[in-house]
């Protein structure tokens, strides 16, 4: 009996260790990024663009916001409408099954493959060049399946009595969706959108050959003008020999993590309000 108890305790300790093993790198990573970005933190980080390997991050910050904002403007309506189709109009049937399946498969397609696809289709074949729109559409292709699936799952969890009550009162299915079920499912839908947003914020691979890179703040046109973004700075500037470049890389990493953390905190508040945490993690 004592041996069995001891083994039970040992396994408990091992399980705790598994959690700690993951915790240590995360803490180390956060501490490293915060400490090493300190020299670069100043107001000019936000107000001046990169000049060579120095300067600020204005262009990259604005570029990231533009790319992600555009991507969301495309993917939110498409994703939510797709989710409504799956969750309300066609719960069964061939097309619904195919859509659900393709959304799941699309979430699994590596982002670099999407980037290459975006390059071939938009940058070369459509002749958009490295541009904000090519980058944003590529990001949107990544984001849509997340939003479709989380919208559908949130709609599935809406109490059927609500839907039936509305239908029984004579409202059409369209009205019921717009007035009743979408509202009831809102926290879950917004959570799915925010998760897609945080994934898009941190992406690099799909943008390398669609958005390009620019040291200037985003141009007012969406085609034929490359855009800078934060993840690019992290990737390239860390390999520059100058200290100023490396500080910028850390500062960009810090900003990215703060943005993602901010979105995650929002998600947690929404989830606790929605009462369930059964959401797709990427």
């Amino acid at each position: 009996m004592r041996a069995r108890r001891a083994r039970d305790r040992l396994m408990g300790v091992l399980a705790l260790l598994a959690a700690l093993v993951v915790l240590v790198p995360l803490v180390d990573l956060v501490v490293m990024v915060v400490i090493r970005s300190l020299p670069a933190l100043s107001l000019s980080l936000f107000t001046s663009p990169t000049q060579g390997a120095a300067g600020g991050l204005e262009n990259a910050i604005l570029g990231t916001l533009l790319l992600v904002g555009l991507a969301m403007a495309i993917s939110v309506p498409v994703g939510v409408a797709g989710g409504v189709y799956l969750g309300e109009f066609a719960r069964k049937g061939r097309l619904a099954g195919a859509v659900r399946f393709s959304a799941d498969v699309l979430t699994g397609v590596p982002s670099i493959v999407l980037g290459y696809f975006g390059y071939v289709l938009m940058v070369v074949d459509l002749g958009w060049g490295f541009s904000a729109l090519a980058g944003a559409v590529t990001l949107a292709i990544m984001a849509v399946p997340y939003i479709v699936r989380s919208t559908q799952m949130s709609l599935d969890r809406v109490d059927p009595a609500l839907r039936e009550a509305s239908l029984a009162l004579g409202a059409g299915l369209g009205t019921t969706v717009a007035r009743v079920t979408l509202r009831a499912a809102r926290p879950g839908i917004v959570t799915g959108i925010l998760i897609a947003l945080s994934v898009a914020l941190g992406e690099t691979a799909p943008l390398l050959y669609t958005a390009g890179w620019s040291s200037y703040p985003p141009a007012p046109h969406l085609l034929h003008a490359p855009v800078g973004y934060l993840t690019y700075v992290v990737w390239t500037f860390i390999n520059e020999p100058m200290a100023s470049a490396q500080h910028l890389a850390y500062a960009a990493a810090l900003l990215l993590m703060l943005l993602v953390l901010g979105v995650n905190v929002l998600v947690r508040r929404l989830v606790s309000r929605a009462g369930r945490s059964e959401l797709p993690i990427r």
């Binding site: 859509v99 699994g108 071939v120």
Partner: protein, 317 residues
């Protein structure tokens, strides 16, 4: 009316998937004709003589003289790094999931699952950054030599260790990145274990661990397998972090655990710039074929994962 509209919009992912396949196939076609099966068996990736006066014509497609595109190094590199990542990440994730569902007090459990979620949110370039600055030097100066000394009787684990950038570093970074996916899915699976079964086991006098082994883990087995395959899909396609810590091997099969490796995803990202200098365009087509192969592998893996999870769920109900 709204039904038709939303159905049209919903077809987006279906269309996107078909378009990706078609465009990659189209872009890869000259390379498929030029390289044939050598693409999957060859280990030499050589753009040919880019300064030659004119491209040569082979089977109706143009390439620079001497160009060969063998992707075996990248295919193997991708598989090795991903499998290594799973070997590390699966036991760790199952441990975390068991800790969260069985052992952790409520408060601690909440904190740990928050940390695991944060881990999922860290952008992959930031993992790469940490990998370059912390992990790679640590492997080169400490972990690598220590492993080589302790386990050097296994040929694959013998030195030389090199700089630390390579297979082991890629595997560790990938493991860190897939742990959140696997841990959260396994946790869901463990939470589905019916309370009566667990309580029955405990009432029979089993310790907690015995109940986990005899009841919970067998019950959650398909969930664990499905989660691992999902994690594999993610690891296969991960680009930036691997690109930063893998040492970018070309034309070099890994000789030991510390060798530089190249993966398909990282190579696509690293090579497109130089591929664009190929006047015949064949290098770009070859990268498209690489993307196509990666696409097909990850789609197969993901379909497999969904099937496993779905059949598991059906058997349960």
């Amino acid at each position: 009316m709204p039904r038709v509209l939303t159905a049209l919009v919903a077809s987006f992912s279906l269309l996107a998937l078909a378009a990706i396949l078609l465009f990659l196939l189209g872009a890869a076609w000259p390379s498929i004709r030029y390289n044939g099966l050598t693409f999957l068996t060859g280990t030499t990736w050589n753009l040919g003589n880019l300064y030659a006066a004119a491209p040569v014509r082979v089977d109706g497609v143009r390439a620079m003289p001497g160009a060969t595109f063998g992707a075996l190094v990248f295919v193997l590199g991708t598989l090795l790094t991903s499998v290594l990542a799973l070997v590390i990440a699966v036991p760790t994730s199952v441990g975390i999931a068991i800790f969260l569902t069985e052992y952790a007090p409520r408060r601690v459990g909440g904190a740990v699952s928050f940390v695991v979620e944060l881990l999922a949110g860290v952008p992959s370039v930031v993992y790469g950054l940490w990998g370059i600055i912390v992990l790679v030097p640590w492997i080169g100066s400490w972990l690598g030599p220590a492993l080589a000394r302790a386990l050097g009787f296994v040929p694959f684990l013998r030195g030389p260790v090199g700089t630390g950038a390579g297979l082991l570093a890629s595997g560790l970074v990938l493991a860190l990145m897939v742990v959140p996916i696997i841990a959260s899915t396994v946790r869901e699976a463990l939470l589905m274990v019916p309370g009566e079964l667990r309580e029955g086991a405990l009432a029979l006098g089993m310790t907690r661990w015995e109940a986990i082994r005899a009841v919970s883990l067998p019950f959650a087995r398909t969930g664990i397998v499905g989660a691992s395959i999902l994690g594999l899909g993610r690891a296969l396609g991960e680009t930036m972090a691997v690109l930063m810590v893998s040492g970018d091997a070309i034309n070099l099969l890994p000789r030991n655990l510390y060798s530089p490796v190249g993966t398909m995803a990282a190579t696509i990202a690293a090579q497109l710039d130089s591929a664009l200098t190929d006047a015949s365009g064949m290098a770009v087509h070859a990268l498209a074929e690489l993307a196509l192969v990666l696409f097909l592998i990850t789609v197969a893996v993901n379909v497999l994962a969904r099937l496993v999870v779905r059949t598991g769920a059906m058997r349960r109900t």
